[in-house]
Homo-oligomer: 303 residues x 2
């Protein structure tokens, strides 16, 4: 099954205690595609400027990512700059130059319209809705959003959420969206808005999968050095949706495995700057890390 | 196998968004005993003043807790007052009246000296060492400490840690003790100090069991209302040590189960004020919750 992702392509300038990069490949749709393409073909929709270094996405073209939906607009590519301290859960945004991304209007190529697994990365909720209207018969729609849209365009977000199956957001965002501090209560409130499945990303504390009648916790992989957390959330989503599309099975047991694959891919992402670590993973490396997650949580309940 | 616990007995005044209690039964040794006594006999060493309402510990006497080591001193019982906001991970201490606890010198009754499972609750590291010197042949020594001792009496704590098997502390404390922000690196540094096994409590984010060559994550139980987090850490330790003593098996597989029993007991603790919820649990309730933890983390790794 093929996946459609709509999001950003960007050039990131990032500084962490372990080094820095300037104008490195980034953006939600790019990170997502890099992870998802290990599992299934990806149809990408994004916009870049005429300054975009296209040779940098060659590795993705070789890996089942279709760039028919990459619009090249007159102007400059979206640029973001950020700085992380030793507490990698917090970051300072140094600059955000939306450039051509400011006028982004996602157009879904005809060849993409029968995509069954849809990931709406963090863009305006009205644009996310426009995308859904262009899709014929999605099997699973997942959406990411952020505090900027929850605070700034809640009515549109609420409308879009009605058509979403899986909401993938972080813990502070689910609390903000529900206006409720307790995560269990907040999840129920958000489920009432539309998405029956929530995936709550908690950074170094792992991820939660919450359905109508089950809770599942996936840990974060214990790393001694996190070089660059940028893109970890979109990489998580890519691993999750990639495995869902490959297995084409939306049972709860499979959702759990998909969350663990998402966590595994995110753990690779942060081991190097930009997309460096996601370029040349082997299937064996991914499988091994997936099994390590099992070892970290498995116990024999027979006492 | 019997357990020895040395710690505090206190009267707590607690305010949370869900209510308040005044001079309610509390203290590390009391919470620990209440949880551990569901699994194995407990020998308690603590001090109270002559104002201590002894009828409040009758339920523990009926549950295998030996109070031969409870010293009744002239003066008032240790009192602590605290207030929690909606973010139950943070609390304000309103007052700390050490009273008779200030001059506490743990004396281990002869009948306790062959205890095999030892829990040194959060008291001064020099007192913790004094206790260890009075014990004949401990099989497993676990210790809790806090930022106050890490900052205030590190040399004594380092000496005591050399004789400890399992250190049970929270994530900020392990970072402070190791002077290292990364939890994986910090754990290795602390293991070099003595305890080969670390249990890192992360509140609503669960608990980590770290041995020389393994990582294990236990989740926190998802609760819609946390009435009172006071004592959750000592209750966790009680469930952990209780199960270890009952099974008398220090294999890694058993340590994992013990961490889950600790998490299960802590989840009961916070459901009511003071020790109310820990008074009348059934074995069936404990077993059921233990299995729920398994369900929350278990997945089939065969893809």
């Amino acid at each position: 099954m093929s996946i459609l992702v709509v999001g950003s392509a960007a050039l990131d300038t990032v500084e962490t205690p372990f080094g820095s990069v300037e104008d490195a490949l980034g953006g939600s749709a790019i990170y997502f595609s890099a992870a998802a393409s290990y599992f299934a073909p990806v149809n990408l929709v994004a916009v870049v400027g005429d300054d975009f270094p296209r040779e940098q996405i060659e590795f993705l073209k070789k890996k089942n990512v279709d760039f028919s939906g990459l619009e090249v607009a007159n102007g400059k590519t979206f640029r973001w700059g950020g700085k992380y301290g030793f507490d990698l859960n917090e970051r300072d945004t140094l600059f955000t130059h939306l450039n051509v991304f400011e006028k982004f209007e996602p157009k879904i190529p005809d060849s993409y319209k029968n995509s069954e697994y849809i990931f709406l990365a963090n863009i305006g909720p009205d644009l996310q809705m426009d995308v859904l209207k262009q899709i014929q018969a999605p099997k699973l729609v997942a959406l990411d959003t952020m505090n900027y849209w929850i605070g700034g365009n809640l009515p549109a977000l609420r409308e879009t959420l009605k058509r979403v199956d899986v909401l993938i957001i972080n813990d502070s965002e689910v609390r903000q969206l529900a206006n409720e501090a307790n995560l269990v209560k907040a999840s129920k409130i958000v489920q009432e808005m539309g998405p029956k499945t929530l995936i709550i990303k908690k950074g170094e504390h792992g991820a939660l999968l919450i359905t109508r009648n089950s809770f599942f916790w996936a840990p974060a992989y214990p790393l001694e050095i996190i070089y660059d957390p940028t893109g970890a959330g979109d990489t998580f989503a890519g691993g999750f949706m990639g495995y869902m599309a490959r297995s084409d099975d939306i049972s709860i047991d499979n959702l759990k495995r998909a969350v663990v694959f998402g966590s595994a891919m995110a753990s690779f992402c942060v081991e190097k700057f930009s997309l460096e670590r996601l370029k040349n993973l082997s299937d064996e490396e991914i499988r091994t890390r997936f099994k390590e997650f099992w070892q970290m949580t498995n116990f024999d309940p027979n006492v």
